[in-house]
């Protein structure tokens, strides 16, 4: 069990909205092992960003309510930690974050160098050791920063540090975000749709860099995306979410070879390709204010039975490390 870095159990999060209480996460289980890239896949509104934020402890305090559940990160229980120790020990140190939009993540009035210096002043891994004087540490950090900027393949690292965020392209900003996430030497990086705003050729470059650096450093990554193709590129394992519940989890090869949840199957079929043509999923994503009881996918599922309408399916193992939450999982691989 020591290989598990983070385990989420039965997490329930609700948001107060005008229409009522939206149950955005409803009993989510998730495990990420050390050094693995876990893809969290789902359509908009399925709760993947909420889950990522819950792990970081940055859910909006006035709207979100954690109703139940547990998030264990190594020996810490994240939901029980107070804000101060979360901020000093975990967030930004052990658990780093790469946002979807790298532009709004920077402060537009300071140079990139200043912002990276600020990061290192508070989150440098050398702080933990505490052997060096402040001056020695700054010098050592500066070298580490330049080294990291070279690793994410930014052309002219010294020059980039003197620039303002608007002076570099979207792809370069996302490289900077990856560098800044890895500089504190975290154990887990949460990447929230990091390539959605980028063009395909830049996306391919960014994914390559992220995958290689995570591998080389043994950093685990929680990679949320709505794009199964991207998940195929970078992930070791994939978890699919639907309307606030995880429905299937499998190693990447098994996932694409033997999708077992009807929703996963339909999601794969709706990818545009010459074999599939253009096929959608009939019906609409349920409103989270009054979600359907039982399995939340049952109104759109032709395999649904009475059982599906009343009880949420437990986790079945359909293969080694391949779990599915369905009363009637698909058996064949076709």
């Amino acid at each position: 069990m020591t290989s598990d870095l983070i385990t989420v159990r039965g997490l329930k999060v609700s948001f107060a909205s005008d229409a009522g209480i939206a149950r955005v996460l409803d009993g989510v289980d998730l495990t990420i092992r050390r050094g693995e890239i876990m893809g969290l896949v789902g359509e908009s509104g399925c709760g993947k960003t909420t889950l990522a934020r819950a792990i970081l402890g940055i859910l909006p305090a006035n709207a979100a309510r954690i109703e139940a559940g547990q998030i264990r990160f190594e020996e810490h229980d994240i939901l029980d930690l107070d804000e101060a120790s979360l901020a000093t020990q975990l967030r930004g140190r052990q658990i780093a974050y790469i946002p979807q939009d790298p532009f709004t993540a920077f402060n537009p009035v300071f140079t990139i160098g200043t912002q990276i210096d600020d990061l290192m002043r508070f989150k440098s891994p050398l702080l933990r050791e505490g052997r060096l004087s402040a001056r020695e540490r700054r010098r050592a950090d500066r070298l580490r920063v330049l080294e990291m900027l070279r690793l994410v393949q930014l052309p002219d690292p010294e020059g980039v540090l003197r620039k303002y965020p608007h002076e570099v392209s979207g792809g370069q900003r996302q490289r900077l975000m990856i560098a800044m996430a890895l500089l504190p030497q975290p154990k887990l990086v949460i990447a929230d749709e990091p390539t959605t705003a980028l063009d395909v050729t830049v996306q391919a470059q960014i994914l390559t860099v992220l995958k290689r650096l995570a591998r080389d450093r043994g950093v685990a990554v929680l990679f949320t995306t709505h794009d199964l193709g991207t998940a195929y590129e970078i992930c070791d394992r994939i978890t699919v979410m639907y309307a606030g519940q995880e429905v299937e989890e499998a190693p990447v090869a098994d996932f694409f070879a033997r999708p077992s949840h009807p929703y996963t199957r339909k999601l794969l079929d709706s990818l545009p390709s010459s074999e599939n043509g253009i096929r959608g999923i009939t019906g609409e994503i349920p409103r989270l204010v009054d979600p359907p009881p039982g399995c939340r996918f049952h109104p759109r599922c032709e395999r649904a039975t009475e059982e599906c309408r009343t009880t949420r399916p437990p986790t079945h193992a359909v293969a080694v490390a391949h779990d599915v939450r369905c009363h009637h999982p698909l058996q064949d691989s076709a």
Partner: protein
């Protein structure tokens, strides 16, 4: 061939002046820099490229939202590029532009009926009863019940708003519709519904589409022909199958190689294209792709390649392509 030619674009340019803080002109941004292509009636032409390649500016210049700097746009036999907005209005009612989310352009304080009547009031002499007949007919075509006419936009779902937005475009019986990124930002399961609607409407009304998109897998399924743009130019154009099966231009090849293909070799293991497109204010000499091109040779810095029709159903602007 020329009998069913509906849109003929010849050497179209759209340059924007770049000014310093004193409003002095310091350069020009060549967003569309010599684009020529022709579209036949009933055809779906895909225009693909990465952000900043000028594909949206091209659409807006054709539409007259931006005035062309130079070049000709012959639409149904009339050159509309140089005309003032009031002169071109009667031609342009048959040329319509569909924004990314057509539903977002509905006035929240108007009923669906008012929104759908408006284009007819502006552009035609039809009486109220005739307009109502036309509006009901179009509303049925986009798959909405007539009871929706009396509702306000906030009372219907986002997908239905999209349909109303489309209906609004179709009330004027356009012959060409420019679709600007119609599926970006949609989940795959919703995307399919919208694409099928586009295809149904195209068949039902005999429409011609210019389908502007950055999503190559969608373009492959929907379009008959594809034009690939890079920094304001079409670098390759041809039949969809030819472009996807045997891309000739190195940029098209890189673009296709960058798409993740489930089950295939991973892009992250072998992707080779480096860098990002240079600024369109400061274009490289010769071929504009040469700064990133894996095959660039000295000759590429000297000559600006034109589209070569050297392959059946396919043209590419590359000196070295074979």
């Amino acid at each position: 061939m020329s009998a069913d030619l509906i849109l003929d674009v010849d050497d179209l340019h759209k340059h924007f002046a770049v000014r310093d803080v004193w409003k002095r002109k310091v350069g020009s941004l060549r967003a569309v820099d010599g684009v020529s292509f022709a579209v036949n009636r009933g055809e779906i032409l895909g225009i693909v490229g990465e952000s900043g390649c000028g594909k949206s500016t091209l659409g807006k210049t054709l539409m007259g939202i931006q005035q062309a700097t130079s070049g000709r746009v012959v639409f149904e036999g009339n050159d509309i590029a140089g005309l003032k907005p009031h002169q071109s209005r009667r031609y342009r009612q048959h040329l319509q532009y569909c924004y990314q989310d057509p539903g977002a352009s509905l006035d929240p304080r108007w009923t669906i009926r008012s929104s759908l009547h408006e284009p007819l009031v502006v552009h035609t002499e039809l009486g109220e009863a005739e307009r109502e007949t036309r509006v009901r007919e179009i509303l049925r075509a986009v798959g909405l019940p007539e009871t929706h006419l009396d509702l306000y936009p906030h009372e219907i779902s986002g997908g239905q708003q999209r349909r109303v937005g489309l209906a609004r475009i179709l009330t004027l019986k356009p012959s060409v519709v420019i679709l600007d990124e119609p599926t970006s930002g949609l989940d795959v399961s919703v995307q399919a519904t919208i694409l099928n609607l586009f295809l149904d409407l195209q068949r039902a009304f005999g429409l011609t589409y210019l389908f502007i998109s950055h999503d190559l897998s969608v373009v492959r399924l929907v379009c008959h022909r594809v034009a690939v743009m890079y920094l304001g130019r079409i670098v390759e154009i041809g039949d969809t199958e030819a472009i996807f099966e045997t891309p000739r231009h190195p940029y098209t090849q890189s673009l296709l190689a960058a798409i993740p293909r489930i089950g295939g070799p991973r892009v992250t293991d072998h992707f080779s294209l480096e860098g990002e497109p240079p600024s369109p204010i400061n274009l490289p000499t010769g071929c504009r792709f040469r700064t990133r091109c894996p095959k660039a040779a000295p000759v590429c810095a000297e000559q600006d390649p034109a589209l070569r029709p050297d392959w059946p159903g396919q043209q590419a602007a590359c000196l070295l392509a074979t």
